[in-house]
Amino acid sequence: MKNIFSIPILVCLVISIPFSIFAQEKQSDSLIETSKVIAEPATSLIVSDYKYDNGNSLKLNWVPSIDDQLPAGKVTGYELFRSVNGGGFERIAEFPPQKNSFQDDKVEIGSSYVYYIDALSKDTATSSAKTELINPEREWFNAGKIPLLIMALIIAGSIFYFIETARRGKTLFVRKIAGLEAIDDAIGRATEMGRPILFIPGIQDMDDVQTLAGLTILGRVSKVIADYDTRIFMPVSRSLVMTAGRETIKAAYQSAGRPDAYSDDMVNYITDEQFGYVAAVDGIMVREKPATVFLLGAFFAESLILAETGNSIGAIQIAGTARPAQLPFFIAACDFTLIGEELFAASAYLSGEPKQMGSLKGQDVGKAIALIVILIGVIAATFSTAWDIAFMTSIYDFFTTIFSVSK
């Protein structure tokens, strides 16, 4: 008898083959699925308008995924997606793990934006919830700089006040500045000895306020030189300074009634290159042996070379710069040094005009404010650090906030 079960068994076998293959695949898939690394999404994604800008920035903050842990969490990074005006989302940025903020500077006023962020793992990306729709806003006034505005108004206001006070005839006391008092004597010395004066307005261009300060002093000095008929050499290292220097000296000779005595050769351009300029000036000093040397403006490493060479030829030297690194060299090698703000005060001091003297008093108001703030700040910082007194800590924090320059 033939096995009556063979055919059904055969049929079952044939039918079961695809099922078993399918089942294996399913098994494989589920094995694969269970071995995929899936990270939790980032949360609390918030978008806000960046304050005090022209409407071209939005700030995003989020809480990193709980799977984002050092040294070897599941998260390998983040990707940020953005939709503009309801359109499709596109990736705009990628971050390493642990990042939790971003500033999107490529936004425009009038458009609306929605964001979401993907936490990336080895195999997958998990999306956060989308943000609300946001429109960037333009602020017409940067309220974050109000403390700066107040300080500027106080100092400018005090300058205007003292200018007005001086114009009404009130005498304003300004202490004697030895270097400026010595200018007339120094020029007189050069005249008596029959030797020239050398004027060096620094090595920066007209966009540096120290150069302008040097040129304003040149204007005063030129008037005396024109009256005394003393020779002056002014080698410069910038072409614009050459032009301005010539105008200044020419005007001084004209106002002294001696326009014919002026010559363009008094002011010569040497080179923009720092040490090439110094070599040329040193050569002029050693050959021409000026009796008086003025070093007034912005100087760098060459300051000591110039000052020492001037000292070696026996010249009387009056120097002034607002670069603190060079002041020690001038003080060591020169006869008189204008320290920092004295350089800027020089033109006002020499002119004696009420309007100019008033501006010097205004500066003093700023210094008085700085003194008081420093004193209070030091006391507050000391008490806050040493004894943790809350009131002092709040004063310290207040000063830190208003005098911070970060945006």
Partner: protein
């Protein structure tokens, strides 16, 4: 011949130099008691010998890094691998002997830690010096590092603070390409790097204007980006007001370079045999300082002896 000498020719040179310098200073000191001024040319000769002798007959000293220098070192050490650091070469050949060693040491350290470096310069002369660093340090010591992936030279742009004002918001507006006209957008190192605010650290090496101070004022502080600075010794005092908040550390002059190099040599076997110009230059600096201090003492002796003479007259 050296096998028969107990000391090398170099040591003989050192001994002779030291005898000449200190013997000469002693002679001048004895003269100063008679209130005789010293001609400045004699001072120049002594300085020449004090600087030349340690260069010809190397004298080196042990260095250990101070906290100020360690600030920069530790920052680079602790940044995660792959961080992007911008190094700006803002100096000229005159300042190079003082600051190029620190530029080389910081670049080597950063690459060794696996960081990416963007090189640039605000000084026209800085580019040639940057090329020197690339040719003598980066390429020979790190042949496995790839340009555009691990480092790139985006070149020099004129404009001083104007350049900084632009790159703090957008690199590509000022540097659309690198120094060889390769677009920044095609470089992996610039992927997702829009402005200085995306950098992990900025190191400015220089001392003039524009330089480290301008970087702090226009980029580091407003953008809240960690900054390290390497400056000529004479400029270092100007940067101390910014330490440690706006700058994490300051390398000042040859000493700063020597201290940084000593940290590298101490902590990395790879750098044990590297050139250490900073450490080498401490020899001349030390002797020169001793000579200057001696002349200050001699000057004061002359001053007091003259005063006494005038007083007895």
């Amino acid at each position: 011949m050296n096998n028969f000498l107990l000391i090398s020719l170099s040591d003989i040179g050192v001994i002779i130099s030291l005898i000449v310098i200190f013997g000469g200073l002693l002679w001048l000191f004895v003269r100063s008691i008679k209130a005789k001024e010293v001609d400045r040319r004699i001072i120049f000769i002594f300085i020449f010998v004090a600087v030349a002798a340690p260069i010809l007959f190397p004298i080196t000293f042990q260095e250990s890094a101070t906290e100020v220098v360690k600030g920069v070192y530790n920052k680079i050490e602790n940044l995660p691998a792959g961080s992007r650091i911008l190094i700006s070469f803002d100096f000229d050949p005159a300042m190079a002997p003082e600051v190029q060693p620190m530029a080389n040491a910081i670049s080597a350290h950063a690459l060794e830690k696996g960081h990416k470096i963007i090189f640039m310069s605000l000084w026209a002369t800085g580019q040639a010096l940057l090329s020197q660093t690339l040719e003598t340090v980066i390429i020979p010591q790190f042949p496995e590092k790839e340009e555009f992936v691990d480092y790139v030279n985006i070149g020099y742009k004129a404009g001083n603070e104007g350049v900084l004002n632009v790159i703090v918001a957008d690199f590509r507006q000022m540097f659309p390409t690198d120094v060889n006209s390769v677009p920044l957008d095609s470089m992996p190192i610039f992927y997702n790097l829009k402005s200085c605010k995306d950098l992990d650290m900025i190191v400015s090496i220089g001392g003039g204007k524009p330089g480290p101070k301008e970087w702090v004022l226009f980029v580091g502080d407003p953008g809240n980006i960690p900054m390290g600075v390497g400056v000529a010794a004479v400029v270092a005092p100007q940067l101390y007001p910014y330490y440690p908040k706006q700058v994490v550390g300051i390398l000042g002059g040859v000493k700063g370079a020597a201290e940084y190099e000593s940290e590298l040599v101490k902590n990395y076997q790879k750098f044990e045999d590297m050139e250490t110009p900073g450490l080498r230059m401490m020899g001349p600096q030390t002797l020169a300082h001793i000579v200057i201090m001696s002349f200050i003492i001699i000057g004061n002796v002359i001053f007091f002896r003259s005063r006494r003479k005038d007083g007895t007259k």
